[in-house]
Amino acid sequence: MFNTINGTELDQLLIQNSEGLIVVCFSADYLGESRMLDSILQEIASDYSSVIFVRIDGDADSHYAAQKGVYHLPTVMIYNASELVHFKQGLQGKAALKRTLSAIISNEQTA
């Protein structure tokens, strides 16, 4: 699942899932890079059933995006157990994203 939510919903998600792994993509339909990244995340989401994947429309919700430190789209943030562990602007490939996620999950398991 890779649903579009708004900023208030993301804040609630971060508070309610304080022990989980959450991938957030700030995206915009008018950008080719964003559309590509959205479809990559949509694919990856099915490989990681325990991870929550969400998309924020950084164009419609630009005030919230700016509050979160976003000034370029797309931007991916990953939260793990109430910690922001990844923040990257621009298009990222499927392999790179999977490597990042696997590294976070394996660190968590060895901790």
Partner: protein, 186 residues
């Protein structure tokens, strides 16, 4: 403190056990805290740019770095962000005085972490006005950057003469220089 708003806290701490103890101490009274953790200078300088934190908690001794240097960096580049030392090495009164006089907003000893969330709430309340004003300015700059990105993207798809397109791109470049987020507080 609004319990529904996420509070972003940046921690400079090289000891994993201490990171967990500090997180636990903070979350007792501030359950909506989200952390970024930097274990060295490079991570600190990188993560402070990710998402400007509402407060910084820093150890005093970091291998290859120093809490005071981190504080001077914050005071210079992000003067609106409050800075608290959370350390085991400030027993020396002279060091405490030096830290506070040099610009720290507070300090907590690691063997007294139960007082940490209270100190954070107190410091956040004191610094709210200066934080809000600067953060709102930063947010406007980030939103302007998002608008510039949108204009650039739409311009690429516009069918107008190349000469006019280049003039518009030149103007956009000038605007980008004026609204670089890292220069707005400098």
């Amino acid at each position: 403190m609004n319990k529904d708003t996420v509070k972003h806290i940046l921690m400079l701490e090289d000891m994993e056990n201490d990171v967990e103890l500090i997180k636990r101490a903070v979350k007792k009274n501030i359950p909506n805290a989200i952390f970024s953790v930097a274990m060295n200078k490079q991570e600190f300088l990188e993560k402070i740019e990710w998402q400007v934190p509402q407060i910084i908690l820093s150890d005093y001794n970091i291998p290859g770095y120093n809490g005071l240097d981190a504080m001077f960096y914050v005071n210079k580049h992000f003067p609106h962000i409050p800075f608290i030392f959370v350390t085991g090495t400030l027993q020396d009164e002279e060091k405490v005085a030096q830290a506070v006089l040099s610009g720290a907003d507070g300090y907590v000893l690691k063997d007294n972490l139960k007082s940490l969330s209270g100190v954070i709430e107190e410091v956040l309340a004191k610094s709210e006005v200066r934080y809000q004003a600067a953060e709102e300015a930063l947010q406007r700059i980030r939103q302007t950057n998002l608008k510039i990105q949108k204009i650039t993207s739409l311009l690429d798809n516009l069918e107008i003469p190349e000469k006019e397109k280049q003039i518009l791109k030149g103007l956009i470049k000038e605007l980008e220089e004026e609204v670089k987020p890292e220069t707005v507080l400098a």
